[in-house]
């Protein structure tokens, strides 16, 4: 079953498997393992951005199409449902009108972008998408009677998915993992008791699980897609487009199809984002900085591996939320007012992340996942390359 579910594309590294399991379990049981509003909203964002980054990886990693318009499609999804709820109220009908409208617009725009990319050189595509995305951002900011301009829109979600909906009177029990581990060091006796906390199930949790299930389904779908003949052609285009063409594949069709699929998934993620966040503005959906973040997540996790999207998203969002705390701690040790303090101040987390990013492009171009797989493959090779005696010894050990 695992074979079918993962489409035969296993993590191929024990460390990676462990990492993925940790992320998977944390997300699946998230609201019951990490107390607090901040952790909860971060978990939701991880689910949403796994979809965004995985679909971006389909373009960047598998086909080497660099697009800077991914946030545009994300924004179309988010604004689509937000504007629909603004106009038609909070029912499911409005929601589906919004989703339908956003999807249509996305198909239209991505088709145009895909077709435009045929007319220009590959490197142009990055620049053209950057300019188009900027024009879209400026349009959304300017048409304030429709979109709320800079202020954005508050999203009215269906009652079952909002905080007011309480399906259960009794609170459920959660288990604070981080609290438990720190508790083991400070007060081992009552650590287990202290780590228990109440979880009041509300529509927000329901919405979280909608996002989580969507993320899992999209991930498995993409895994299926890249390991299908279609995905093989994409990789062939990545390695040598001319040759793929010579073999008789219509690369034009494949490239356009990839752009559209990836854009549609980004739109879906945008819809989920609007529903979870319940507030949409240009800064949290369309900003160029967000686009750069998506790029960072994709590259740090590992381009050309969908597992990389999961790992990259988790690592990046953790850093975004908690690296600042760490830096604040560090800044406490420096002289106040000195240049050093400015360098390690909590607002400068992006500086360190940017540095890390550039270094990782040089030294670990395949990202976290690629590196873990490389190490695992080397170990396997070493083992296979050893003398048969040693291998026998290994078997001996195993028995």
């Amino acid at each position: 079953m695992m074979q079918r579910l993962l489409s035969g594309d296993y993590p191929r590294s024990r460390a990676l498997t462990a990492l993925l399991l940790i992320i998977g379990v944390s997300l699946a049981l998230g609201p019951f393992l990490f107390p607090g509003v901040r952790a909860f909203s971060m978990l939701g964002m991880i689910c949403v951005f796994i979809i965004v980054v995985a679909s971006y990886d389909l373009m960047l990693g598998y086909t080497h199409i660099v697009s800077f318009a991914h946030t545009m499609f994300f924004g179309i999804g988010a604004y689509g449902v937000a504007m629909a709820s603004d106009a038609f109220g909070s029912g499911y009908g409005a929601l589906f009108i919004g989703i339908g409208g956003a999807m249509l617009l996305t198909i239209l725009l991505s088709l145009l972008l895909g077709l435009l990319s045929l007319r220009v050189k590959a490197i142009f595509f990055a620049l053209v998408t950057l300019a188009v995305a900027f024009a879209f951002l400026s349009l959304v900011t300017q048409l304030y009677n429709l979109t709320g301009g800079e202020d954005g829109l508050a999203m009215r979600v269906p009652r079952e998915l909002g905080p007011a909906f309480r399906p259960f009177d009794e609170p459920w029990v959660g288990f604070d993992v981080v609290g438990f581990i720190t508790g083991l060091f400070s007060a081992p006796a009552g650590a287990f008791q202290n780590a228990l906390f109440d979880v009041r199930i509300s529509g927000k949790h329901l919405m979280y699980y909608v996002a989580f299930v969507s993320a899992v389904l999209v991930f498995l779908f993409l895994l299926r897609m890249v390991n299908s003949p279609f995905g093989r052609v994409l990789q062939a285009i990545r390695e040598n487009e001319f040759r793929a063409q010579a073999l008789g594949y219509r690369t034009v069709f494949y490239r356009t199809a990839v752009v559209i699929v990836s854009a549609l998934l980004a739109t879906l993620a945008g819809v989920l984002f609007a529903l979870i966040n319940r507030y949409v503005n240009p800064e949290n959906t369309l900003n160029f900085e967000l686009m750069v973040f998506i790029l960072l997540m994709c590259v740090i996790g590992g381009m050309g591996t969908l597992y990389g999207a999961v790992v990259g998203t988790a690592v990046f969002l953790l850093a975004q939320n908690y690296l600042q705390d760490l830096l604040k701690l560090l800044a406490g040790f420096t002289e106040p007012g000195s240049l050093l303090e400015h360098l390690v101040g909590p607002d400068r987390w992006l500086l360190w992340f940017g540095l890390l990013f550039v270094l990782s492009v040089y030294f670990f171009p395949t990202g976290i996942v690629g590196q873990l797989r490389l190490w695992a493959a080397r170990r396997r090779q070493r083992r296979a390359g050893d003398s048969p005696l040693a291998e026998q010894g290994d078997q001996h050990h195993a028995s």
């Binding site: 080497h64 660099v66 435009l116 007319r119 220009v120 590959a122 490197i123 142009f124 990055a126 620049l127 053209v128 950057l130 300019a131 188009v132 900027f134 024009a135 400026s138 349009l139 300017q142 048409l143 160029f288 750069v292 790029l295 960072l296 590259v299 240049l339 400015h342 360098l343 607002d347 400068r348 992006l350 500086l351 992340f353 940017g354 540095l355 990013f357 550039v358 492009v361 040089y362 171009p365």
Partner: protein
């Protein structure tokens, strides 16, 4: 609209043919004339003159910023997305001179004293951006020559680092940069002049136009008439051949990259005085215009870059006057339209 004018000529066949030839051979001039004519009929002449001058001024500043990027691409095949950060860097360096170091001289109202502050400010912006460009080429770009994907990635990363360093050094807030007295205000066109009498032309914009034209002229001269220029053109045509002849093309690359970054810094400093307020993210916003310009003109062409910048400046001002909300959309629409018409840009050759 110019098509109608041509049809009225006595020999329609020949005129249309000539018009077609003009459109195909001089697409940049065709587009420029078309845009100016369309705008001319949509507003009154005085507004049109003011907007055209302002558009040219904006075009001149954008040209300063974009010329470096287009040359780096044409010569080295490097797509430097951190170019915007150099624009910001130049703006902040120039502002430091104006606001902190020579503020006494910048605050006076005589032209000479003002120039004694503005020229060092521009020079400092040029120098800072150039030096940082040197380091940037060595540390960030050199390892990724020939790999576009990695170039995009590391220059995006490098741009983050540079912008954050600006935050570290100058603080996160926006900085007001008052323009020196002698450069504010406007010339009044004498009332007696026909049509445009009484129009006020802002001094600073005229200065920007002059500076832009000067840099354009100088670059064209260097590339067409000096030994370095010949080497640059040869390098664009065929890198290996230049190396075979014993020239150190890496050094040439480095020189062009530094010059390009320095020009971006100069453009940034000019922009700072034009807008009179700067933020670290101003480079990102200007980057869009820069990208549109280099795509419009054709990657790697100086002439195309110049005309592209003028077109972008003009359309920004014209549309900004008619419907302010659509200025950015019109700019990008212009780019998409030109790409549909001529996928390689207006003046596609990488030669100048």
């Amino acid at each position: 609209m110019s098509a109608h004018d041509e049809i009225l000529e006595p020999r329609p066949q020949g005129a249309i043919a000539r018009f077609r030839a003009f459109r195909e051979k001089q697409p940049h001039l065709f587009l420029l004339v078309l845009m100016m004519l369309v705008a001319f009929f949509m507003m009154d002449p005085r507004t049109w003159v003011v907007l055209t001058i302002s558009g040219l001024a904006m075009g001149a500043m954008v040209f300063l910023m974009a010329s470096g990027m287009t040359l780096t691409f044409g010569l080295m095949n490097v797509l430097n997305l951190a170019h915007g950060a150099f624009i910001s860097l130049g703006a902040f360096a120039g502002a430091t001179v104006l606001v902190h170091w020579l503020n006494a001289s910048a605050g006076e109202s005589s032209l000479l004293a003002n120039l004694a502050a503005v020229v060092p400010a521009l020079g400092f912006a040029l120098a800072v951006a150039g030096v940082v460009g040197l380091l940037f080429e060595r540390l960030v770009i050199r390892p990724v020559y020939g790999d576009h994907l990695k170039q995009i990635l590391v220059t995006v990363g490098g741009s983050i680092i540079l912008m954050e360093m600006i935050h570290v050094i100058w603080g996160p807030n926006e900085i007001p940069v008052p323009r020196p007295d002698a450069l504010t205000g406007a010339f009044l066109v004498p009332e007696s002049w026909p049509v445009i009498g009484g129009v006020a032309l802002e001094k600073y914009r005229l200065i920007a136009v002059i500076l832009g034209l000067a840099v354009y002229g100088m670059m064209t001269w260097v590339i067409e008439h000096t030994r370095t220029g010949i080497l640059i053109r040869a390098g664009v045509e065929d890198q290996e051949m230049v190396e075979v002849h014993g020239y150190r093309i890496r050094l040439l690359f480095l020189g062009v990259f530094v010059a390009g970054s320095a020009l971006a810094g100069l453009g940034g400093a000019m922009w700072a005085m034009y807008r009179e307020i700067i933020t670290a993210h101003m480079g990102d916003e200007l980057m869009i215009s820069v990208i549109v310009v280099i795509i419009l003109g054709g990657l790697g062409s100086i002439k195309g870059c110049f005309y592209g910048a003028v077109l972008v400046g003009l359309i920004n001002l014209y549309v900004g006057y008619l419907e302010p909300r659509l200025a950015a959309v019109a700019t990008v629409g212009l780019m998409v339209g030109v790409l549909m018409w001529r996928p390689q840009g207006l003046i596609p050759v990488i030669k100048v």
